[in-house]
Symmetry: C2
Subunit: 251 residues, 2 copies
DNA sequence: CATATATTCCGTACGGCGTACGATGTCGTT
DNA sequence: AACGACATCGTACGCCGTACGGAATATATG
């Protein structure tokens, strides 16, 4: 059996069974792990996860680059800590009485968090996510679908569906923002600049539906898409489907 | 007004209005742009987008590293070409008569493509995606919801909802695969290795719902999650919601 | 108090990355 | 035959994460 993942100790550092009262040898640490993680979150919020470098973070903290590795074993571990810490910043509101509102709130919170910290969208596939705040969040999410007649597995699937959609909607929105930053122009300007070249290069190809729908969307949104309305539309459909499913389960 | 994006010419290179019959001066290119993009897709399929380097790709093609830049302006452009090329590989089947099947097919195709080429999940926020195959795909998707009584905007939103969900489900699946590769252990093994450390570090914290649901899921799946069933469950709910919405629109 | 030991801090260095630049050779055009 | 456009590609620059080892500093032990 493999050894347990050391990052778990760091994730749960504030809930230590042994509060580490025993003073440690050697020099005191100049800053705390929380300081490091908070500063990293600041940098990632400002410039994205890709722009967060160990050297840059160290400089921000007034430390040598390698000193960071006495706080965190690797950059990956740092990101894991960032996720849990940023998830913990949101206070979890009580679940509304109205069923639809309760379900929507799960998705919208995921959406809001990903909008506030877009780098969350770039974090994938790290297993040892099980920090205290991520666990709190999952517990809260399950609370929104408790007592509705679902079995345990369906509760998990329902929550996952809502959270996945909220994340996906945020990703669509951030894709637009990212493109704007990278090209330095808004959707409207990009289309103006590329319309001519596009029609020339697409000569002969016919896209009746895409052309019609794209034009309608462009006029309605002043952009190629409107992720905000996509969130509302999709969430309405999903909640409709979930409510219908709940009604059937309760029958 | 900014200049048009040069990558468009490359994306639509096979539909050139001027087929470039005029022979170009200088040495012939050793390979073709398609060769470069195909090889890049191979490498990304095998080891992920992060492991796709210009040097590695050049070596694979028997070229010097810098030679690639006579085919493609930047690595980013290469990725854009990869997306369109890989999207074009799938033949677009006719839409089934059954409405539910038609909607499901849109989401499942997105899911399948992302599973077959997980690096698609790492490509975000590139605007100049409008290659011929991406356009074909969008046209095809819209065809699945044409003539159902939706206005143009709702057609777009419906298609986006299905595609977003398919992508999100694939992302959940790939997150598991990614974690397995990174840690070198399956979900079950990871939990066995970390269960003891977790319970120790979580001492005092209570997660009644998460504990109950997690245990149920673990026993049912032999893993922390089962993205495949999540796809089926979520898709069923979404299609339910969409069908209800269509019925209302048609009323 | 003196010494040993654990821990922090951090400078240097290595192998990777994307790609800017310029030299060199090869072809079609004149 | 000479020119100019183009492909090829070696070198180099500034980034990145981080392995390693030495110096400084705190506590633990004699």
């Amino acid at each position: 059996m493999p050894d347990p993942d050391p990052v778990l100790k760091l994730l749960w550092r504030h809930h230590a069974t042994s509060p580490d009262v025993a003073p440690r040898r050697g020099p005191k640490q100049k800053v705390s792990v929380d300081d490091v993680v908070d500063a990293a979150i600041d940098l990632a919020d400002a410039d994205g996860l890709a722009a967060l470098s160990m050297r840059g973070l160290a400089q921000r903290l007034g430390l040598g680059a390698m000193t960071l590795y006495t706080y965190v074993a690797t950059r990956n571990d740092l990101v894991v800590l960032m996720v849990d810490q940023v998830v913990g910043r949101r206070v979890l509101p009580p679940h509304p009485d109205d069923l639809r509102e309760r379900l929507e709130q799960v998705a919208r919170m995921q959406y809001d968090d990903c909008r506030a910290h877009p780098w969350l969208l770039d974090v994938t596939g790290l297993r040892a996510w099980l920090g205290p705040h991520v666990a709190d969040r999952y517990e809260w999410q399950l609370g929104a679908v408790e007592g509705l007649g679902l079995d345990d597995i369906e509760m998990d699937q329902t929550v996952t569906l809502l959270a996945t959609f909220g994340t996906g909607a945020a990703r669509a929105e951030e894709a637009v923002r990212h493109a704007e930053r990278e090209t330095g122009m808004t959707d409207a300007v990009w289309w103006e600049a590329n319309h001519e070249a596009l029609t020339e290069v697409m000569a002969g190809r016919e896209y009746p539906l895409a052309g019609r729908v794209g034009t309608a969307a462009g006029e309605a949104y002043q952009a190629a898409s409107d992720p905000r309305r996509e969130l509302d539309f999709g969430l309405a459909r999903i909640v409709d489907g979930l409510v219908a499913h709940l009604a059937e389960r309760a029958r």
